[in-house]
Structures are given as C-alpha cells and as structure tokens.
C-alpha cells in the first residue's frame, strides 16, 4: 500500500509537470467537442444543381423555383444544353442535373403526364443519393399541386392519399448533435485511456527508468496499478469536462442518470487502459506504439457505430463490432443520453465491458515481465 502511494505521488507530479499531457486532456477534448459536431452532420445541404431547361415555360420556372426555395439546393447552372451541364459535372461544379424536356408544359397540361430526367454525380454517393431523394419528393409535391390546380374536384378524390405523420422518439427534433456529441465523447475517452498510459510506460522504457524500477522490489501489480489509477482518474476528468461542454454548448442533458454514465465509463476506462498497457508491453518505442494505436483506433471508430449504423453493416462486420469496446460505449451513451436507460437496461453491456477489462488487463499483467 505504501509502495503504491509513492508510485502514485511520483506519477501525479510528472503529469502535472508535463504541459503536453495537460494540453491533451484539457484542450483536445474542448476543441474536438466544439468543432466536430458542427461538421460531422449527416444532413446533406448545398447540393449543386444544374438545370437543363429545354422548355422555358411558366411551369418549368415554377418547378425550378420550388426546388431552389427548399434550401437544400443551390443552382449551379442553368442552360439548355445537356452536354454543357455534363461538362460541369466533369469539373465537379455540379452534383445533380435535372433535365426538363421540351414541351414539358404542353405535355403536362394536355396529356396530363410529363417526363423529367435526373442525372446524379455519384462520386459522393451519399450526397447524390440523398439529393436525388430530396429532389424526387419535391417533384412529387409539385406534381400534386399541379393536379390540384388542373383537375376539377370530383366528389371523391380519384387518388387515394396516404398521409404519414411520424414522430421521432427519443430525439424529437432529429438533432444530429444529440446523436454525435455522446459518440465523440466516447472516442475522446478511448484516446486518453488507451494512449496516455501506453505512451507513459514506453517513455519509461526509452529513458531506462523502467529498468531501475525492475531492480527494486516493487511488485508487478503495484507498478501496473501505479500507472492505471492516475490515467483512470484523468479519463474521468475528461468525461466530466466533455459532459459539461455538451450541456453548456449543445444543451444536451442526459435523459438517464449521470451515475449510469459514470459507472459504465469507469469500467470502460479500465478496459481501454488495459489495452494501452498491453500495447506498452509489446511496443519498444513511442513511434511504434503510436502507429499501432492509430491502426486500432481507425478500426474502433469505423466499426464502432459512430458514423455508420452497426445494424446496416454486413453480418461479418457486425460480428467484429462485438469485439470492439467502443461500439458498446457509444451504444450505452446514446441509450442513456437519449433514451434514459438505467443500469439495469445496460447490464449486458456492463458484463461485456467487465469481460474486456479482465481480458486486456490480465493479458497485460502476464506479458509484463520484470526479468527478460
């Protein structure tokens, strides 16, 4: 116990003297949480639309006006030649081409049907898909208006109309920030947990102080606890900071309790710290550790459900996410923050995380050797 006290005292002294660590735990979370949620937004806006209007009628102008006033599109070009619009696509000046054929108005009024042609620049697939879908729904709307104008009202509407009214449970305003901020917080905690402890131990390896510790009677578990505890506390500080920012900047108040978040985060940090320790027993230089951790973080983030829904991943990828601690924490954060889930609701997640913690730390303890 006394040995541990000295190890912790030393660790905290070093942490508070290291400006790099302080920057990493204080400034990095603030910046990431202030900037990323504004940029990492799924909503597609500013879609560049080129209109090839071969009709130039009142109806075609009305349609274009309706589209541009929706707020999702900006008119990037207006011409009467499809090839010049296609050249704009080539230059990446346009995402969508809407071609209005000649006689559009005439066909619409006389034949009661008209054809529009839509071309998508699918280099940015998400933008093209969503843009196409938006445009479709605007045109459908337009179509209804035109019908309403032209068709004399029969006693009963000839077309059955199903109107869907939807309500969004748990995130009524469909606010992306409610969805992203808790996830980004998870990534931050993961970086702090897995990297700081690992780099710290490897630094001692590089300087040679670890060898000096290895010739003392300090026990293996004392040494490891001496490294785990300070960074575990730092992780919780980062979490507190992050939750404060989410509240002050984004007005996010978890629907569930803070206790649930902290209990899970405490366990989660233990697991990622274990991963960091494990990393430090294998890597012999800080560069090496950074590269490995970069690789692991990429997988963790992309297969963690932060940006893309796990449910829509292929089955094999969903299996991988089961071995990714990040996916559990993101899930828990969203459950607690948006849905108000309690400890009982997340007991499966807690159990899985305890498993990760035991596995990583156990492996780290086994592979850390005082004697080579």
């Amino acid at each position: 116990m006394r040995t541990l006290k000295f190890l912790l005292q030393k660790e905290f002294r070093q942490i508070f003297r290291d400006p790099a660590i302080l920057r990493m735990i204080l400034i990095m979370p603030v910046i990431q949480l202030m900037v990323l949620p504004w940029a990492a937004d799924y909503e597609v806006k500013n879609i560049k639309l080129s209109v090839v209007d071969n009709d130039r009628s009142e109806y075609s102008r009305k349609l274009i006006h309706k589209i541009t006033s929706s707020g999702y599109f900006s008119l990037a070009g207006y011409s009467n030649s499809y090839s010049s619009a296609l050249a704009d696509v080539d230059q990446d000046r346009t995402d969508l081409i809407l071609q209005i054929p000649p006689h559009f108005e005439k066909d619409l009024v006389r034949e009661n049907k008209a054809v529009l042609y839509l071309a998508l620049n699918a280099i940015n697939g998400v933008k093209a898909n969503l843009g196409g879908a938006y445009l479709n729904s605007i045109i459908r709307d337009y179509n209804r208006e035109v019908r309403a104008e032209w068709i004399q009202f029969p006693r009963f509407s000839a077309e059955t109309q199903i109107n869907i009214t939807s309500s969004n449970w748990y995130n009524p305003g469909m606010n992306y920030k409610y969805f992203m901020v808790p996830g980004i917080l998870v990534i931050l905690l993961t970086m702090v947990g897995a990297n700081l402890a690992a780099l710290n131990i490897i630094k001692e390896k590089e300087i040679g102080t670890i060898e000096q510790i290895n010739v003392t009677p300090v026990k293996k578990y004392h040494f490891i606890l001496g490294k785990l505890i300070p960074f575990w506390i730092l992780g919780l500080v980062v979490l507190t900071l992050g939750l404060t920012i989410s509240r002050l900047v984004y007005g996010i108040i978890p629907a569930g309790s803070f206790t649930t978040i902290y209990v899970f985060a405490a366990l989660y940090l233990l697991a990622v710290l274990g991963l960091g320790l494990l990393l430090s027993t294998f890597a012999s230089s800080q560069q090496q550790a950074m590269l490995i951790s970069f690789f692991i973080m990429m997988i963790f983030i992309l297969l963690g459900g932060l940006y893309t829904s796990i449910d829509s991943m292929p089955a094999w990828a969903q299996v991988i996410t089961k071995f990714n601690p990040v996916s559990y924490f993101i899930d828990v954060m969203r459950m607690v923050v948006l849905k108000g889930s309690s400890l009982a609701d997340i007991r499966g997640h807690l159990l899985a995380m305890a498993g990760f913690a035991v596995f990583f730390n156990g492996w780290a303890v086994i592979s850390y050797r005082k004697r080579s």
Partner: protein, 247 residues
C-alpha cells in the same frame, strides 16, 4: 574465511546462437571493490543484469547476497542497489523527490527518508539544488546523485554499470571517493568500467574477453603476471585476443 556475497558458477547467457556470457565463474567477498573489466560488447552488462535479476541466465548457477538468481531474484532486489549505464533518475522530478521516491519504494520509513535525504544533500553539497529538477543538473552531479540514490536504501551490494562514462576527471575522482566511502561502510561494490586507471582503484579485477573471464586477480598480481607496468597494458594484451567486434 571472509563471507562470499556474490558467487557465479559457469554462468551463461545465450541470445539465439550468440553466447553473450560464456560460463563465467567467480566469487566476490563482502566489502570488496570488484572491478569488472572488458571491451565494449565483451558481456559485462549482460553478466551484471543476470546477477541483478533483470535477465534470466541460460545456464550455470549464481547467488547474490545468499539468494539464488533463478528462484529468489525478488529477494535479491531487496539487498542490492543498481546504477545502470543509462542515467535513470526521473529528470522531471526534483533531487529531493527522486530520493523520496526510491526510498519509498524500497519500503523505508518517512523518518529514514528525511534523515538520509538531508545527509546526502549535505554530502553532495546539493542543499540549494534540493528543489531543482534533476534535468537541469550538470552530468557529473547527476552521476553522483544517481550513485547516492542507488545506495539510498543501504543495500549490502551495489552494482555500478560504467558509472563514470562521459564524466570529467575531477568528477571521476570524487565519484571514486564516494565508492571508497561506501566500501568502508561495508557495502560490496561491483563495478564495470573500461577506464583502466579506475581498475587500479579496485581490490580485485576480472577482465572479460568475448564473454569469458580471461584474468581475475588483484591489479598488482595481474601486472606481475603479464609483465606490464599498468593495467592499461594488461588489458591491451588480453583484449587483443578478442574476435568479436565492437558493439
């Protein structure tokens, strides 16, 4: 008969095909200053690391402070001090904090740490630098401080791995005075070096060539055996047989 505090019997360390330490045998008596000489790459550090419990021997037997290096390496650690080739105090801790830390992890009491710290600061004339980060001390002072920290917990044996590398002659002199003091107080000193003038200060020296001990005796006897005027000549005569290159 004097007490033997270190014994090695055919102690060997192999890394794959490479035999770093090849069946070395020797004994060190209590209170002795035992010089462990050899060219770079002769196997000195590896041998010392095995005795300190940092490296697992491949074969052979050894005891340190009466404990077996295979089984009781953690018990050995309670009884030895170690100063490695690399400077290994924490340079982002102050002079005082380093002493407090190393004293603490050896399980010394607060009173012991306090008294001993005051004593060492006085001996090294470092009272003014007590609260200075170790990083800002000159190299010579750092080395002396590292030695003081290595014997802070008053071990029976201290292992010094090229403690005076890169240090000026005056500081080296002072460093050796500290070694003599430690030896006078009953601490056995096991020191590796490749400064041959330092070899003259040792009670007995062993000279390692290519992982084997080629000579072991008092400096005087060695000079006589090899008809040399200085240890430098003895060393050159023996080291010339080396087949291993630098490194």
């Amino acid at each position: 008969m004097p007490e033997k505090v270190i014994t090695a019997d055919k102690l060997t360390k192999r890394f794959g095909d490479f035999t770093a330490v090849d069946q070395i045998s020797f004994e060190v008596e209590k209170g002795e200053i035992f010089g462990f000489l050899g060219a770079n790459g002769a196997g000195k550090t590896t041998a010392m690391r095995m005795l300190c419990g940092l490296s697992m021997p491949t074969s052979g037997a050894a005891t340190v402070a009466g404990f077996d290096v295979y089984r009781d390496n953690e018990k050995i650690k309670r009884n030895i001090g170690y100063m490695s080739q690399k400077f290994s105090l924490y340079d982002d801790l102050t002079v005082k904090e380093n002493m407090q830390f190393y004293g603490g992890i050896y399980g010394k009491s607060d009173a012991f740490i306090k008294n001993k710290t005051a004593y060492i600061l006085d001996e090294l004339h470092l009272e003014k630098e007590a609260h200075v980060l170790v990083r800002s001390l000159p190299l010579g002072w750092k080395q002396k401080l590292a030695f003081s920290v290595a014997v802070f917990h008053e071990p029976g044996i201290v292992f010094l791995d090229e403690p005076t590398g890169g240090v000026d002659p005056v500081t080296r002199r002072e460093f050796w005075n500290m070694i003599y003091q430690a030896s006078d107080s009953g601490i056995t000193v096991f020191v590796t070096t490749h400064y041959m003038d330092e070899a003259e200060y040792c009670n007995r020296v062993s000279i390692m060539v290519d992982g084997r001990i080629e000579a072991l005796d008092t400096p005087g006897a060695l000079k006589q055996q090899h008809e040399a005027r200085s240890m430098d000549e003895v060393f050159l005569k023996l080291a010339r047989k080396a087949k291993r290159g630098e490194g």
